[in-house]
């Protein structure tokens, strides 16, 4: 109870001993993501063979599925962060959830756009003629986490925002399995998963794994950057609060 918003644990401290400062580690992560994406581009466009049925457009698959998985990972972070926050009111998991939500939203958008580009030549897809369950349910998922960000914006800042957003993040995640199983439930254009079933050739699988790694690395970098930004902002606010406290206390002593 004595822990104020953003108070106490988890603040940025000057780098100690051998570990490099956070900004350096973030730069390394950004560089690593770039290299991983270069490798993924090589794997996806050069190394992997062209699909005999779909032609070059099939290569969208690698990024499409990878960003979908990364988006789910972000929403899982929002869920876990929310649960941990509600249990112990620790500002750190809330900050993690706050950092992960917009990244998840971005990745959902990427998945969405990639899927539409892929679908256009393959199914001759046109939203006004063909309705796809997976497409609609991804739109739903997007709306849930857009709502999460709106709650954070409109709720009274601090503890109330963290508490209410945590609830939205937890309840919203209930939607995720429903979204996933809706594909199995509805006869739909969307192809059934090929990865678990082993229908994917080994070279394509390798390309996909490299892409997945690159996307996850980028996701981690983005979430970490946002986390550090939020932490620095809270730190600045706490510092300003302390100044204000000192001023108010000295003012109150005046008779």
């Amino acid at each position: 109870m004595t822990r104020g918003v953003g108070g106490g644990k988890g603040f940025a401290r000057p780098a100690q001993g051998g570990s490099p400062p956070i900004s350096t580690r973030l730069r390394v992560a950004v560089l690593g993501s770039l290299l991983a994406f270069a490798a993924a581009a090589y794997m996806d466009f050069v190394f992997a063979p062209e699909d005999s049925l779909q032609g070059p457009v099939q290569r969208i698959f690698y990024l499409h599925v990878s960003s979908a998985i990364a988006a789910y990972a972000c929403f899982a972070l929002v869920l876990i962060g929310g649960i941990l926050y509600l249990r112990r009111e620790d500002p750190r998991p809330d900050r993690l959830a706050r950092a992960a939500a917009p990244v998840g939203l971005l990745l959902t958008s990427v998945t969405f756009v990639m899927g539409m580009i892929w679908a256009k030549p393959i199914w001759n897809w046109d939203p006004s003629k063909t309705w796809d369950a997976r497409l609609s349910s991804t739109a739903v998922l997007w709306a849930v986490y857009a709502g999460y960000i709106l709650v954070r914006r409109f709720a009274p800042p601090g503890r109330t925002a963290a508490r209410l957003a945590a609830v939205v993040g937890i309840v919203g995640f209930v939607d995720v399995p429903v979204v996933h199983f809706s594909v199995l439930w509805w006869r739909t254009l969307h192809p059934q998963p090929v990865i678990e079933t082993g229908a994917l050739p080994a070279s394509m699988l390798a390309a996909w794994l490299v892409t997945l790694l690159a996307v996850l690395l980028l996701t981690g970098t983005l979430v970490a950057t946002r986390y550090v930004t939020e932490r620095n902002r809270e730190l600045a606010e706490a510092r300003r609060d302390r100044h204000e406290l000192v001023r108010l206390e000295s003012a109150a002593e005046v008779p």
């Binding site: 709650v151 409109f154 109330t160 937890i170 309840v171 439930w185």
Partner: protein
């Protein structure tokens, strides 16, 4: 006092208030009928197309009527500042939430009692019984989620504005299974709806404490 007695007392209080003041129900009934009139003008209907769109109209009107019904559930307690008095009783936030959700579900049920025959009268087609069963089955889960988000929304600057944004996407699975109930896999779809109801009621019950109380 037991959980059930407290929840029922809260539900009874809300329904008695609604019965005496007659605020929400007449407005909702009129909303439902107007939505059907708009449907008549908005679509070029013949006997075949009316039968095809009737279940969709049913779902659309239920969703939007639900937003109105649930949006008011916690607004009054917040404005009258009576929620704090409730929270200081031994009833507990979950029982209070359950009572409010129960009353809101009853209001939505009353609304559906106008809507189902209304579709028969205005569109001139009978609804498939399975569609009606799916809507009735969904009412419990929709009320649990709707009241949760209603209690959440009144604490924000955006107030009622936030309720549709939060509730509609999370209600979609009800519509998905509701529509699936008409596709020849009805028993499975209805079973899924029931499972979804149970899941949602449990989750909303667990979350209610964190929404109602600081």
């Amino acid at each position: 006092m037991t959980f059930a007695a407290c929840a029922l007392a809260v539900a009874r209080k809300d329904l008695l208030t609604e019965w005496r003041s007659r605020e929400v129900l007449p407005a909702l009934a009129q909303f439902v009928l107007l939505a059907l009139v708009v449907t008549l003008f908005a679509f070029d209907l013949d006997a075949a197309s009316a039968a095809r769109i009737a279940p969709g109209v049913l779902w659309l009107v239920v969703l939007f009527a639900g937003l109105v019904a649930f949006g008011r559930a916690f607004a009054a307690e917040k404005v009258q500042a009576s929620l704090e008095a409730l929270l200081l009783t031994p009833a507990g936030p979950v029982a209070i939430f359950a009572g409010k959700a129960l009353a809101a579900a009853a209001v939505l049920l009353a609304c559906e009692a106008v809507l189902v025959p209304g579709i028969g009268v205005f569109l001139g087609v009978g609804l498939p019984p399975l569609a009606v069963a799916a809507v009735l089955l969904s009412t419990a889960g929709m009320a649990a989620l709707g009241c949760l988000f209603s209690a959440l929304a009144v604490q924000t600057r955006a107030r009622e504005l936030l309720l549709p944004v939060l509730a509609l996407p999370i209600w979609i699975p009800f519509v998905v299974y509701g529509a699936a109930a008409l596709t020849g896999r009805a028993p499975q779809a209805l079973a899924n709806l029931l499972a979804l109801d149970i899941l949602v009621v449990v989750v909303a019950g667990l979350a209610a404490r964190f929404v109602l109380d600081d």
